[in-house]
Subunit: 223 residues, 2 copies
DNA sequence: AACTTTGTACAGTAAAAACTGAACGTACTG
DNA sequence: CAGTACGTTCAGTTTTTACTGTACAAAGTT
């Protein structure tokens, strides 16, 4: 009997290759085995290869977004939407990622809050359609503006209030010298912090006004 | 019988105030109650007040760092170190924050990795001493350099590799038109992404070289 | 009006992360 | 050389977060 066995082995998985050799070893006890090593790519048709490249890139994008405090799942959803050139419905996403519709709903909302995805309207369908924001420079700007602004202003408020309180304390005559000098040091530190937050605010201003691109142009060639 | 009851009520906790009135209501059934509302601050001595201000600010700092993906505990540790003007040992931190020494050890290491805390050496003690980095501009720069660089270069590598693969696929004559045009679109998207990562890299360059401060000066008055 | 279709709230579950205490290794001390 | 003082590793526990399925509300369709 003649029998062909084709084994596709993923390069990255060393253990799989080991298992494959063990398996072939067992096989050789019972059969006559001929080996042929071939480039897997030549077996894959274009569509399959395209799919594989996409998935790798999506995974990289997700891993990167993870760095910014975004879940892997949400990152993968964004990556998927980025390469899916049509707007997608929740059900399609669910199908594509094999997750629950609830998850898709909340994830897509998170992405909308970050302005990384927008809802689009299309005649004839009752389903909501979502499209990935393609301009990553814009995404970057929105992301940090949204994330930082609130934090900055809250911190500035807290610092300002605290400085005022400590200055009152420092001027008070009822406290002992030790506390007074400690207050002085704290005031200095808080003023330094305040100055930093004001700087950060101006940095975010330059993001929002896109003036940052005058300083760091989008394309290397410019300037 | 004459009895004084002093209740210190925290402003921020609405529920506490409600509970207080319920309690007083019950009390009035059995006793004659006189109210006196006083400013809590006048009861606190300077040291206490200083402590309270510090804690509030530390909490704000922690909450802010949380935004950048740093745990509350680690944020609080940093904030505490920032206001503690001497270098601290692990045991002192443990004592101050009421956490385990193990936690202090790992947290302080995280902060060291982010260059937010440095180990200092002092003659006569065998314990490790840690000091908070005070320049937040510097902290900002280090934080993003450390966090972003790896991610960026990994992404650039992945994108570059994928673009090459897709370009080979696109030129191949064996694939059908549909796949070819899809590959073309993907290549465009990946090139756009690549361009973004290069931009981000240049932005981080400007952080590390401190050229960013030419564009956004540390002090508002400059320029 | 009843029946669909669609998105989301909510409660429960699974998975991940933070935190701890005991045990261990290393380096200093007598 | 024991004996002690530190910091860290590791296994186990608690807390938090992510995810799912059911139930429900809103809007559309018959």
């Amino acid at each position: 009997m003649l029998c062909y066995i084709h084994l596709y082995i993923l390069k990255k998985s060393g253990s799989l290759i080991k298992d494959y050799f063990i398996f072939v070893g067992k096989l050789m006890k019972y059969c006559k085995v001929n080996f042929t090593f071939m480039d897997v790519n030549s077996y894959m048709d274009g569509k399959e290869q395209l799919e594989r490249v996409r998935e790798r890139v999506i995974e990289t994008i997700a891993k990167n977004m993870n760095l910014y405090g975004i879940t892997d799942s949400i990152g993968r959803l964004y990556g998927m939407l980025y390469f899916h050139n049509q707007p997608m419905t929740l059900d399609e996403m669910k199908e594509e990622l094999g997750m629950s519709k609830t998850s898709m709903s909340t994830s897509v909302r998170t992405l909308m809050d970050l302005k990384m995805v927008e809802k689009v309207w299309k005649k004839g369908t009752r389903k909501d359609l979502y499209l990935a924001e393609e301009d990553w420079h814009q995404t970057f700007i929105d992301f940090f503006s949204i994330k930082w602004r609130t934090g900055i202003s809250m911190n500035i408020a807290a610092m300002t209030k605290s400085i005022i309180e400590l200055e009152r304390l420092e001027k008070s005559e009822e406290i002992d010298e030790e506390v007074r000098s400690a207050a002085k040091v704290d005031i200095t530190k808080m003023k330094a912090a305040l100055s930093y937050y004001e700087w950060l605010n101006r940095l975010v201003d330059s993001f929002e006004s896109e003036e940052i691109f005058d300083f760091i142009p989008k394309n290397k060639e410019e300037l």
